[in-house]
Symmetry: C2
Subunit: 256 residues, 2 copies
């Protein structure tokens, strides 16, 4: 039975896509079978693997509008054991189209049922908003991972996101739980990072992953080569952090 994880935060640029790409790669490197669903109309997760979005006739928009199944829209990446359902520009019209659709919040959940016994983990990369696409991802998921940039503005939206998670849990998906908050782009040279970390750990305690992702230029260079940072530069601080995050998640699963 796949564990479906929505990677979500309505604050923009906090590392949702970067975490989806690199954590999924690290989990696949540890032997898990992993699927990424690129649920952002920008399609950054798709491009991050060097896939040409204009050639993806079968894509996540076609899946949620029931023009094809998830299995038909799966593409292999260069990482063994890691597949992706790509996003294309059509998805940006998808949100408004879904507003008046039947069972609009369950489109993704119903589509993913078909691959429940194929993958160990499914990561859904969400857009920076709390609209119907994110609601679909939260309804399909068992857990939510919240990347949080260690900057002032990033803290602000967290309570709004938690309220939305509660709302979805109450009326659409009772199984939904917070997997954890992941601190990203941590910069040791910048006091603000330390202050934000202390504040977040103070408020959320064990709900914050031990692993912290450092700001590391190799991480932001990797997508321009169409590769996850683990393939681009496996020894850099960014790669090591995502590997230790994968180990932290796999260890917790073992304990459950």
């Amino acid at each position: 039975m796949s564990r479906i994880i929505a990677v979500s935060n309505q604050k923009g640029g906090v590392g949702k896509t970067t975490t989806t790409i690199n954590l999924a790669t690290a989990m696949a490197a540890c032997g898990s079978k992993v699927l990424i669903v690129d649920f952002d109309p920008q399609g950054n997760a798709t491009t991050g693997f060097g896939i040409d979005k204009t050639k993806c006739e079968k894509n996540v928009y076609a899946v949620i509008t029931e023009q094809c199944t998830v299995k038909e829209a799966i593409y292999h990446t260069d990482v063994p054991g890691l597949d992706i359902v790509p996003s294309t520009v059509h998805l940006s019209g998808g949100e408004i189209e879904l507003v008046s659709a039947i069972a609009r919040e369950y489109r993704l959940k119903n589509a993913l049922a078909e691959v429940a016994d194929v993958y160990d983990y499914v990561f859904v990369d969400c857009p920076p908003s709390l609209g119907l696409l994110t609601i679909n991802a939260l309804t399909a998921a068992q857990q939510v991972m919240v990347p949080l940039q260690t900057e002032f503005f990033a803290m602000e939206g967290i309570s709004q996101l938690f309220r939305t998670i509660e709302l979805v849990k109450r009326s659409l998906n009772p199984n939904l739980e917070l997997m954890g908050v992941l601190l990203t782009m941590y910069d040791r040279r910048n006091n603000l990072s330390g202050l934000v970390e202390a504040d977040v750990r103070g408020h959320l305690g064990r709900k914050v992953f031990n692993t912290v992702i450092p700001r590391n230029v190799r991480v932001s260079e990797a997508p321009s080569h169409g590769k996850p940072v683990l393939l681009y530069d496996v020894h850099c601080p960014g790669s090591r952090a995502y590997m230790s995050l994968a180990a932290e998640i796999l260890k917790t699963k073992a304990e459950v």
Copy 2:
């Protein structure tokens, strides 16, 4: 007659709010009368001035749902000559509510007509999406400013944004034009910044502002003190860059 400028890019975390706050402050410092409309449900522009969102009964959501006028929802900031219409969490429901409203794309435009002769510039800080809130801002504006982080993923969404601007220009607002692309968070130590700059200036030429905003930690610290960076540390590279951007804009206006 106010010049209304939408600050927009659906890519998250590229510096839309930071540019709105600090450019508006710099323009006010040069003697212009300026209004900021915080049109992002996260309300970062509101908090960036130390305003308590929970106390703003009159806000931009009330304005676009016609519960009050813009004039009633104006708050003064600590910067002389700079006012703001704050955003609150109610705005996140606003987008879905607008879908079936009459003249849904013109709500902001109609509301701002009331203050057309009060302000020289109105800056609308947009959320990271191309939904109805951004469409409202593009319909109300004469110009669009596009902050672009000098990173790989940030380049990807530009053509989608330009397509949306064309669409709005054709069917909702024939006066709309691109004011310019502003390169932000430029980091001299990172090759990627230089590559992105060369690429963007190569493609867009004069449509890219000469002024480039450097990555500067003082800029990201300022909002935690509830101040624009020009009030927090007027001599830092971030403040100087936003002042030179204001001068570049005021000079262009003089030439028109």
